[in-house]
């Protein structure tokens, strides 16, 4: 028997007949009158179909005719109630359809349409009627869009506003429409430059009454008001930085997740900086008394107070962190004659002063006892006192606010008993759950400068890193595809150029800040009253960060860094050395000190990973189905099935190409054999030349 195959819809289109729809309609109708009955509705639907077959054997029924048939069958089979419900339903649908058609007809824009669309400008705080002329003028104002194109776009925007039936539109919508139209006409205009800082209401709400995690919270669960204010201010500044300060292509690359520009919420700040008590004593550091009386520096307590103030000040003015260097060294002459109790008290004060505020940056505190032979004991004694106070934590703020201890491991540290005791104490702190950073310094070099500070080849080593932009290597690798290594390196070129442009923009801004008459950074960068500046912008380093190298290797060659495959390791080394070269070139071309660094920040890796998931959900879930993030920096994946030595072996060759990279060592407390075990490991790493910095913590 031939069956009804097609139905003609109301708009004239012919579509396949779907029995399921008839069945659903019947079931709905039956439902309106009593319980649903699958069997019955199927029976009725079959009957409808049967009658349709009989009636419309030589034509295509319309939707109306099908519905008529349903009605009729329901009536004839004795389901009058259901038929009535069905009729009512049809009627309601018809009325809605008519209303919609009527509105559409009214909205068809005509030449003589005189309805007014009001545009609300939230930034300027006023409303005005939409004017095609004014929009066109605005668009063509900076000359990058021709007037003809601007007119065209303005007309299109108006058309879309009217067609949408909008009576009142926010300015942001008008902007977005204009931008969309421009994009469609492939005009190279960046309208974001005109955008104000827009904070979404959810964002505000989240910052004010945050639920769940993130950020330090007051006891009630809501964040501290000051933290919320910082966060919101940061968000506004980020909008500003993206819209106004960065070149358009860099801003777009950041938003897309090709690169990550650090510190957008602090556009006019250094990335990281180091500070020495000597700076404070000389009155160069912020927060130090402007005129230091000659004997003030003699008083250790006074120095501590000023140092703490400077460190906090800097902590609020840098993006990543502050390192206080040369501590025991500077204090040694002051405390040479102090007894044990006095040392302990001084150490406690110093730790308290250098602790971070809630929501602030943590300070890294260099505790390495290095000094001339004469002062060595005093310096080691103070370092010991500091470590003991750090271990006791009595009367000090929580562990995540305390300064991060940094203890240099050098050959000298194994020569003298005092220095070795400091090392053992630091190892003991690790066993008690602190994280300690150990820079490894081979030979007789002086104490290492802190993290991110360029190792000084020049006469005056730079002590600040001014900005960092991290490159999203895994995305490039995924885009160019497996095995196309040359293509990948070419793609890296583009990212390096983008990052260099971003650095340039920031440098201009910082130069302006340095030249400004007010502001808090100016005195740091300019040097007050003829003194040498604390940080010289010309000497500062600009960091190109890399992250996710392990995943990059995996995407390019199919193996991860820890796999027993020479290819992956070789490839990673090649990428690192190529990038190092390119970064140096970019620095030379732009006349700034560029460094290639490992970006060990897990948040950055997480953000890039999330961006990549948005970018290509399918491909990402193929490659990284059960992983929550890229492994930060150039490290072997944290949970990789390799032992520590293999990890060191794999990472070491990469570290050689980077200006800073930290080997993260996680030990199970029971496996270390006490402080001696950790010291032995450090000593071996130093001798074997494994890394520049080791960060040791226990699980």
């Amino acid at each position: 028997m031939r069956r009804v195959a097609l139905v003609r819809r109301r708009d004239g289109e012919t579509v396949a007949f779907e029995q399921q729809r008839v069945r659903d309609a019947v079931e709905r109708a039956l439902l309106a009158t009593g319980g649903p009955d699958r069997g019955l509705s199927e029976h009725v639907a079959a009957m409808v179909e049967l009658f349709l077959d009989k009636t419309y054997f030589d034509e295509i029924p319309t939707t109306d005719q099908v519905e008529d048939m349903v009605e009729k069958v329901l009536m004839d089979t004795g389901h009058a109630e259901a038929a009535k419900a069905f009729i009512l339903h049809r009627e309601r649908r018809r009325r809605m359809r008519e209303a919609r058609e009527a509105r559409d007809a009214r909205l068809q824009p005509t030449l003589f349409d005189n309805r007014v669309v009001v545009v609300d400008d939230a930034v300027e705080g006023r409303a005005a009627a939409f004017s095609r002329e004014r929009l066109a003028r605005t668009l063509s104002a900076d000359g990058s869009v021709t007037r003809a194109l601007a007119d065209d776009v303005a007309a299109a925007v108006e058309m879309r506003l009217r067609a949408g039936g909008v009576a009142r539109a926010p300015a942001a919508l008008v902007r977005a429409l204009a931008e969309a139209e421009l994009l469609e006409r492939s005009a190279a205009l960046d309208l974001r430059r005109r955008g104000g800082a827009v904070l979404a209401p959810e964002r505000l709400a989240a910052a004010l009454y945050r639920k769940g995690t993130g950020g330090p919270a007051a006891p009630g669960g809501a964040p501290f008001p000051a933290v919320a204010a910082t966060e919101l201010g940061g968000a506004a500044l980020r909008c500003h930085a993206l819209g106004e300060l960065l070149p358009a292509d860099v801003a777009r690359a950041h938003q897309d997740g090709d690169v990550h520009v650090h510190g957008l919420s602090l556009p006019a700040a250094l990335f990281s900086a180091s500070l020495s008590p000597r700076d404070v004593a000389e009155g160069n550091a912020p927060g130090a008394a402007s005129r230091v009386p000659a004997d003030a520096a003699r008083s250790a307590r006074r120095l501590t107070a000023m140092l703490g103030r400077s460190a906090r000040f800097l902590g609020a003015a840098v993006i990543d962190g502050v390192a206080v260097v040369d501590v025991p060294d500077a204090y040694a002459p002051l405390l040479a004659s102090a007894d044990r109790d006095a040392l302990a008290e001084e150490a406690w004060h110093l730790l308290l002063e250098c602790s971070a505020d809630v929501g602030g940056r943590r300070v890294a505190l260099d505790l390495s006892p290095v000094a001339d032979a004469g002062e060595e004991t005093a310096s080691a004694a103070f370092a010991t006192a500091l470590l003991r106070a750090h271990g006791r934590r009595e009367g000090l703020p929580g562990a995540d606010l305390l300064p991060l201890p940094v203890v240099t491991v050098s050959d000298r540290a194994f020569e003298s008993d005092a220095a070795r005791d400091v090392l053992r104490l630091a190892a003991d702190a690790v066993l008690r759950g602190s994280t300690v950073v150990f820079p490894l310094v081979r030979g007789a070099a002086p104490a290492a400068s802190p993290r991110d500070v360029r190792r000084g080849a020049s006469a005056r080593p730079a002590r600040a890193c001014a900005g960092r932009i991290t490159l999203n290597l895994p995305r490039l690798a995924r885009r160019v595809g497996r095995g196309r290594i040359e293509g990948f390196l070419r793609a890296c070129d583009r990212l390096v150029d983008l990052a260099a442009a971003g650095h340039q923009a920031r440098r201009e801004l910082l130069a302006q800040v340095a030249g400004a008459s007010g502001g808090c950074l100016a005195p740091l960068l300019r040097g007050p009253r003829g003194r040498t500046p604390l940080y010289d912008l010309a000497d500062a380093t600009w960091s190109f960060g890399v992250t996710g190298l392990n995943e990059t290797a995996q995407l390019l060659c199919g193996f991860e860094l820890h796999d027993d495959d020479e290819g992956a390791a070789r490839l990673a080394r090649r990428i690192a050395s190529y990038l190092a070269l390119r970064v140096r070139e970019a620095g030379a071309a732009g006349d700034f000190h560029a460094t290639l660094d490992s970006d060990d920040d897990a948040d950055t890796a997480q953000r890039l990973f999330a961006a990549d998931r948005l970018d290509a959900p399918a491909a990402m879930s193929d490659h990284f189905p059960d992983r929550s993030s890229y492994s930060p920096g150039v490290a072997v994946r944290e949970d990789a099935p390799v032992d520590l030595l293999a990890r060191i072996d794999h990472e070491e060759a990469l570290h050689a190409n980077l200006a800073t990279a930290t080997l993260r060592v996680r030990l199970a407390a029971g496996d270390t054999g006490g402080p001696d075990g950790i010291v032995a490991l450090l000593r071996k790493l130093l001798r074997a030349g494994a890394a520049e910095r080791v960060e040791v913590a226990t699980w």
């Binding site: 006791r392 104490l425 003991d428 520590l644 030595l645 072996d649 001696d676 950790i678 071996k684």
Partner: protein
Amino acid sequence: MVRRAPPLPPVRGLQPMSLTAWEGRVTAVLQIQGCNFHCPDCPVPHLIATSVEGGSIPIESALEALYRRRRWLDAVVIAGGEPTLHEGTRELVRLVREFGLRVRLHTNGSNPLALRELLDTGELASVSMTVRGPLDPTYAVAVGARVRLANVYECVELLLRAPGEHEFRVPWLPQVVEHDQMVAVLRMLAGARRVVLEPARDGSPGVRTLQQVGRAAGTYVESCVVAARPGQDFGARGRSRSVSP
């Protein structure tokens, strides 16, 4: 007739990094199959059988792994089982020495002949001997096998005389060995460079008791520590020094 070198001992396990096998050194541990004792609390019972039915690591790949990591290692610990049972141990020590790594040997002290031979080569930087009790009939209970006490004693004497960083590990089986007997053990080891007191595997008799023993008899030896409590030394030399802040 050409005399062939004895076969290298069967390696059952390789621990690529240990910070505890030789305190203060980064080591890798080679575990050799086969032991002549049956200690009731043996931590590695799978190594006791002399056959290699459980499977062994090809000696070449174990050596290759060591060679590859030689830069990151200080030393290799050859542990057992009982490595002195195999004639090839000497050859193994020589090979590891060729990588530039120092060697520590673990022994239960049942084979003074082999131990003397190994010490005479001068290749061993350190021997760690496990002493499980006083030299009286309890010893046989503590090691679960018939044992010639003279052998154990000879090994102790050998190590006390030979140069090197030798140490004695003294595990305490509280059900078998009394408190006084532990003190007697330490007295027998008088003059040793280092003694490590170990609790039984279930943690008994507790670190406190071990520390008491250390305090009571530690002075007989140069350095006496309790395992898992580093930094506290009851020995004559280390009495005054301790790191705990």
